[in-house]
């Protein structure tokens, strides 16, 4: 496998312009004959599908939910970044670029990140034109707030429902095309194989989850926009159905998987309540604009009513350790600091695995109404879950798995290492390095879909105008469908003793304990064996109910967990291989008094893994990261 990132030559700020100027075009009459498959209808998928159809391509979109509008992007709360500099506070494309590279602990590509910052301004314009009701100031102009890891206010938002509003904007643009007949929507369809012919992506196999039928679909190009794999941890802030299946199947067909160990643990989530817990709920990072994070100075105070603990007996540890960013320190750093405080025995709540997020000062300073206006729905959500009123008593929060920076390796054009197969949004690895800054995933998803793919896919499809739609009885389609069929039959035939959730929970615990917020060589080595054993046991002892030819959520879940059991091992192997600490990847052996210690000499690369066969070691390819415009520095927020 040879990985070519295809980064255009020339000065950083001219690369994208030059690329667009040189890209091949497809004439309108030919576009109609070209078919594109988009798997996923989140921000990345819906925006791409709408834009492709507007350009004139024929598009098919798949999602596992009943409606495209329910993709997991809907749950994003806090906001979306853009280098508009409407606040006149010193923001610029360059500053957003720099913050993102630094936020990612210098493990992402300069050219991709620069392009992201460049197109970020157009996203806001596009969304407003679609009628996305962003928050506004009294003068009628758009409002902004701050997110972690930056010192400017560049985050656009719609109360605590920004993802919902952006997704409904993209969804409405896509549904307009559905009405026009240029997009065909396949809800309740799950992709289970990529079909390749001579190493080129030519379609997919999808299962209609209502009747269990397997369907073959041809495309001149296939775009995966299937989101992140955070659910490998069992407990995460992701929706229950989020999965790695599509990306993993692409990986097995030759798409390199990049930086799988780079996962983001978000510092502010509602803590785990009991062992029946099915998922965790995020409390948006925007809360850190006004909330102050603390734990008691003394262990003895941990069980006291927080309101009775005197000011001098509180440790506002982020403000203390990182005075220039304070409560807005980036996520990886804030999460680790919370873990440290709890490990020292200063955690609060019943489990001792929580810290306070306190709004008392903010309510005093700004007033109850102002706080309610900014965070009302988040406070309500917290109250719903915990039965406690955050206007009166500090929230209790703890870090939880939230986002995966790793994903399918893509080049500058967002093409994977399989020709004609693209990956966009959270399912690719491209822009966030070892840690993503808040409000940047929505930005990336929409950048990929609205502004990057529409250009880059044309450059590829220009060479496809003579390819006739391939017969669905082609052996490649038949074989791919058989693989899926056999797999489902196998899952149902085991009739073992342990449920799918049993296995998933156990896998999640292994990954969380050994490949979570702190990782060691010893722990990872042990965990690898544990995952291998668990996987073997799964295929011997799993109990899946129902049949293949009906609506069967248990079977769908089993297929997803089977893939997580393979991905989990690769995450561990990747974490073992990366003998440094950077961003969310904290190897206890490599630290400087609790701060991550990078090793740029040996590890300034993207790890891209090549699949070699079931239960075989994968091959590591290194894409060296070249920094021409910024100097690698120790990442400090002090």
């Amino acid at each position: 496998m040879i990985l070519d990132s295809k980064i255009p030559t020339g000065p950083l700020d001219q690369k994208w312009g030059k690329y667009k100027g040189d890209a091949k075009l497809v004439n309108p009459a030919n576009k109609r004959k070209l078919e594109i498959i988009v798997v996923g209808s989140g921000l990345a998928g819906a925006s791409a599908a709408a834009s492709f159809a507007e350009l004139g391509y024929s598009v098919k979109v798949f999602c596992y939910q009943d409606s495209a509008r329910r993709a997991h992007s809907i749950a994003a709360q806090g906001g979306i970044n853009s280098a508009k500099n409407y606040k006149n506070d010193g923001d610029s494309v360059h500053r957003l670029f720099y913050d993102t590279i630094k936020g990612g602990d210098f493990r992402s590509r300069e050219a991709n990140v620069y392009r992201l910052a460049e197109v970020s301004t157009g996203i806001i314009d596009q969304c407003v034109a679609q009628g996305v009701p962003f928050a506004r100031e009294y003068g009628g102009l758009l409002d902004n707030r701050s997110f972690g890891g930056s010192q400017v206010s560049r985050t656009f938002y719609a109360a605590g429902q920004t993802g919902q509003q952006l997704l409904l904007g993209a969804y409405s643009a896509m549904m307009r095309q559905v009405g026009l007949g240029t997009v065909k929507m396949y809800g309740r369809h799950e992709m289970h194989e990529v079909v390749t012919i001579d190493g080129v992506a030519r379609g997919i196999i999808a299962r209609n989850s209502v009747n269990g039928e397997l369907e073959r679909h041809f495309g001149h190009a296939v775009v995966l926009a299937t989101g992140g794999y955070g659910n490998v941890f069992f407990l995460s802030t992701n929706a229950m159905g989020c999965n790695v299946t599509a990306a993993w199947k692409a990986h097995k067909k030759g798409a390199a998987f990049a930086n799988p160990c780079f996962t983001q643990i978000h510092p502010t989530c509602v803590p785990v309540n009991g062992d029946y817990q099915s998922k965790l709920t995020l409390m948006s990072e925007s809360l850190r604009n006004d909330g102050r994070i603390w734990v008691p100075m003394h262990k003895e105070d941990c069980k006291k009513d927080p309101r009775q603990i005197a000011e001098e007996d509180r440790d506002y540890y982020l403000e203390r350790k990182y005075p220039s960013f304070g409560n807005l320190a980036p996520r990886d750093i804030a999460s680790r600091a919370a873990k440290e405080a709890c490990d020292e025995g200063r955690g609060v709540g019943e489990s001792g695995l929580a810290v306070y997020l306190d709004f008392a000062d903010a309510i005093k300073r700004k007033g109850y109404d102002a706080i309610k206006a900014s965070y009302g729905n988040l406070f309500d959500m917290y109250k719903h879950i915990t039965n406690e009123n955050p206007y009166e008593i500090p929230m209790r929060i703890y870090p939880a798995v939230h986002y995966t920076m790793g994903g399918l390796w893509v080049d500058y054009e967002l093409m994977t290492s399989v020709k004609g197969l693209y990956a966009a949004g959270e399912c690719n690895f491209s822009d966030h390095g070892a840690n993503r800054l808040g409000a940047s995933a929505l930005m990336q998803g929409l950048a990929d879909g609205y502004f990057v793919l529409p250009y880059t896919i044309g450059n590829y499809l220009a060479g496809e105008i003579f390819t006739k739609p391939i017969d669905l009885n082609h052996p490649a389609f038949v074989e791919a469908e058989n693989i899926v069929k056999e797999r489902f039959n196998k899952l149902l035939s085991i009739k073992g003793t342990r449920t799918v959730d049993d296995f998933h929970r156990e896998l999640g615990k292994i990954i969380w304990d050994y490949c979570g917020m702190a990782r060691t060589r010893e722990g990872l080595t042990k965990a690898r064996v544990m995952v291998q054993e668990l996987r073997a046991q799964f295929w011997k002892d799993v109990k899946v109910s129902g049949t293949t030819d009906s609506l069967n959520p248990d079977l769908e879940k089993a297929a997803r967990v089977a893939d997580f059991l393979e991905l989990g091992e690769l995450m561990i192997v990747d974490a073992l291989t990366r003998e440094e600490s950077c961003g969310g990847h904290f190897r206890t052996e490599y630290q400087d008094a609790g701060e991550a210690q990078r090793n740029d000499e040996l590890f300034a690369f993207v790890s891209a893994w090549e699949y070699t066969g079931d239960n075989k070691d994968e091959i590591l390819h290194k894409e060296q990261l070249v920094y021409e415009n910024i100097k690698l520095q120790v990442r400090s927020y002090k």
């Binding site: 925006s47 009943d66 679609q130 643009a173 559905v178 099915s278 449920t499 109910s545 129902g546």
Partner: protein
């Protein structure tokens, strides 16, 4: 806590369905309703039977996927919440809880508690958008919008498309859902150009899909987990009449 659950079981779209009783014990009050359903399904699977199929995804009240009719109410007893936002502490120990799918002609049952809400997507495709393609649009701040209008548009846009309004309505009308989308755009300057065509197309599609008509009972507003206001329906009706007149 312990409960008797009476749950609608239906093998598929064509099968005859019926209520089936289940007993469940050792339920923690802080469990969410869907976690209680997980526990039930776990027990059913271990017995070798088919678990209860239900829709859910985000489990935080925003995706609109969950859709249970609990004790005769869409999304159960708690105001302003979805099924996934219910906790067992919202019920009484020993209670009998009935759980059914959302019922409406336009929402056929696919299996157990899962219904097909594709009709909503069809209404959206008929006109629920502003026709602007990706690319050359104005700078966002060139369209100043009065904060009050922007906020009102946002409240309407907060609809999660769950269908509780339809399930709660004795006529199975989709007026609250449709009017929320119509209003969002009607309140914004960007939405004015297509205002008439939009309301006509969406309302007509609503009828084509087999939803009933609105008789202003207000049941939809009362059960809406997002508190979408019935005043949107009045706005839609006004717009519809004036659009119909100007179309003649």
């Amino acid at each position: 806590m312990k409960f008797t659950l009476q749950i609608w079981r239906q093998a598929n779209n064509k099968a005859q369905g019926k209520m089936v009783d289940y007993q469940i014990d050792n339920i923690n009050a802080n469990m969410s309703f869907l976690e209680m359903m997980d526990v039930l399904n776990d027990q059913i699977i271990r017995k070798g039977e088919e678990p209860v199929a239900f829709d859910h995804d985000c489990r935080e009240g925003i995706c609109g996927m969950c859709s249970m009719h609990i004790n005769g109410r869409a999304h159960g007893p708690l105001k302003l919440s979805t099924t996934c936002q219910l906790y067992m502490r919202n019920f009484t120990d020993g209670e009998t809880i009935t759980i059914e799918p959302f019922r409406a002609k336009a929402f056929p049952v696919l299996k157990d508690l899962i219904v097909n809400r594709g009709a909503f997507d069809n209404i959206q495709a008929a006109g629920g958008f502003i026709s602007v393609s990706t690319g050359q649009v104005k700078d966002a701040n060139n369209i100043p919008i009065n904060k009050e209008d922007a906020d009102m548009a946002f409240y309407a846009a907060a609809c999660i498309g769950c269908g509780a309004c339809v399930a709660a309505c004795k006529n199975a009308s989709a007026s609250l859902f449709v009017s929320a989308k119509v209003s969002q755009y009607a309140l914004l300057p960007q939405g004015q150009t297509e205002r008439n065509e939009r309301v006509l197309a969406m309302v007509n599609q609503m009828e084509v899909e087999g939803f009933g008509s609105c008789t202003n009972t207000g049941a939809c507003e009362a059960e809406c987990p997002k508190g979408i206001s019935i005043s949107n329906i009045a706005r839609m009706n006004r717009d519809y009449i004036s659009a119909a007149i100007s179309a003649k």
